[in-house]
């Protein structure tokens, strides 16, 4: 005869490691909101000028800006966790030496930075 402990719905509150994991996974919520904004923007653009103007007004609302700002930081946080994990999931070896994790992490941030620079140049034409 044996007994087995079962996981309750609040299992993730038991350890900080689990809370950090749930926080990482929860970044999907504000990001979903951002995607919805983006998709509705494309749809409104297709619908014509007045719809497009409506969408722009909606996007200017303080709470929409706030959630999108949250989405921005959430995506940076998620990227930070992802970049940490990447060297463990995709270790890269060159001949006899394995590329140190720090180099891989720095490389990914460098890529993020260059994408940001590229886009600011595309949108604003100056750096």
């Amino acid at each position: 005869m044996t007994y087995r402990t079962t996981l309750s719905r609040t299992w993730w509150l038991k350890h900080n490691a689990f809370k950090a994991y749930m926080l990482r996974e929860a970044t999907v919520l504000p990001l979903t909101f951002f995607i919805l904004c983006l998709v509705s923007g494309v749809y409104c653009l297709w619908q014509g000028e007045s719809q497009w103007n409506h969408w722009q007004t909606a996007m200017g609302q303080p709470w929409v800006l706030a959630v999108n700002l949250l989405a921005f930081f959430a995506s940076l946080f998620h990227a930070w966790t992802f970049f940490q994990l990447f060297p463990r999931v995709m270790p890269i070896r060159m001949g006899h030496i394995s590329v140190p994790a720090n180099v891989l992490i720095a490389g990914q941030w460098a890529a993020v930075l260059s994408v940001m620079v590229l886009f600011s140049w595309l949108f604003w034409g100056k750096l």
Binding site: M1, T2, Y3, R4, T5, T6, L7, W11, W12, K14, H15, A17, F18, Y21, E25, L85, R88, V89, M90, P91, R93, G95, H96, S98
Partner: protein, 239 residues
């Protein structure tokens, strides 16, 4: 003196586990396993727990210390405050006191064919392996089968059918071994929902592993291998 609360289970007298408190004399060198042995010898001979090597090699003394999976022999009372709670390893059926039934764990280990599979079973030639080839899997071969990672894994807690960290790590360890030719036999199991794909990279397994095996890394490397394998099978028309 430290106070230890142990979750006990004596199925012949009660079906319900209960907590018993013991006061233990402790100095800087007292491990949790020492404390358990002290209780068994001096206070209550009915207490049951597993141990063997008392030096983090055999992997038999796993238990929950203040809710975290630990090896009793590698955990010291000096690192804890006055009160310490000891419970059997989480997510596994408890047989008695701190003794869990490791059957599911062992079945999962066995299922991944954790041994070298050669192309030519008749060959008696020794295998050659360079240090670089060995470096690919060495870390993953340090596992002592203690099962702590299974107690740390919420996915295994929710679904015991999940192969789990150590078994997938072991499969990956052999898949990475230049002497092995059994990858094709292991992949179908790793490709399933109960294989590598149940993992959501909580990562707690690697945090609790006493041997720094980093099972979470092995499981997620296996996902990459599994994805590659499934694409290859798709092109071959096997899916």
């Amino acid at each position: 003196m430290k106070t230890i609360h142990i979750t006990r289970y004596l199925p012949e007298s009660s079906e319900i586990p209960f907590v018993q408190q013991f006061d233990i004399p402790a100095d800087d060198s007292t491990s949790v396993l020492d404390a358990l042995n002290y209780i068994k010898e001096e206070l209550d001979p009915s207490l049951s727990f597993r141990w063997s090597c008392r030096m983090a090699i055999c992997g038999s003394c796993g238990l929950m210390v203040n809710g975290k999976p630990k090896l009793g022999c590698k955990t010291f009372l000096r690192d804890y405050q006055e009160n310490i709670t000891l419970q059997p390893l989480a997510h596994l059926p408890v047989e008695r006191d701190l003794i869990v039934d490791m059957d599911v764990f062992l079945t999962h280990l066995e299922a991944v064919k954790p041994y070298l599979i050669s192309d030519d079973s008749l060959s008696t030639e020794p295998n050659k392996q360079t240090p670089t080839q060995m470096a690919k899997y060495q870390q993953f071969s340090d596992c002592i089968n203690c099962g702590l990672c299974y107690s740390a894994c919420p996915q295994f807690g929710l679904n015991p059918e999940f192969l789990g960290p150590a078994a997938i790590t072991l499969a990956h360890r052999y898949n990475l071994d230049s002497r092995d030719h059994g990858k094709a036999q292991r992949m179908p199991l790793l490709n399933t929902e109960e294989g590598a794909w149940s993992c959501t990279f909580v990562g707690f397994c690697s945090e609790v592993c006493p041997k720094k095996v980093d099972p979470a890394a092995a499981v997620n490397q296996s996902k990459v291998e599994s994805a590659k394998d499934m694409i290859i099978q798709l092109f071959k028309g096997n899916l």
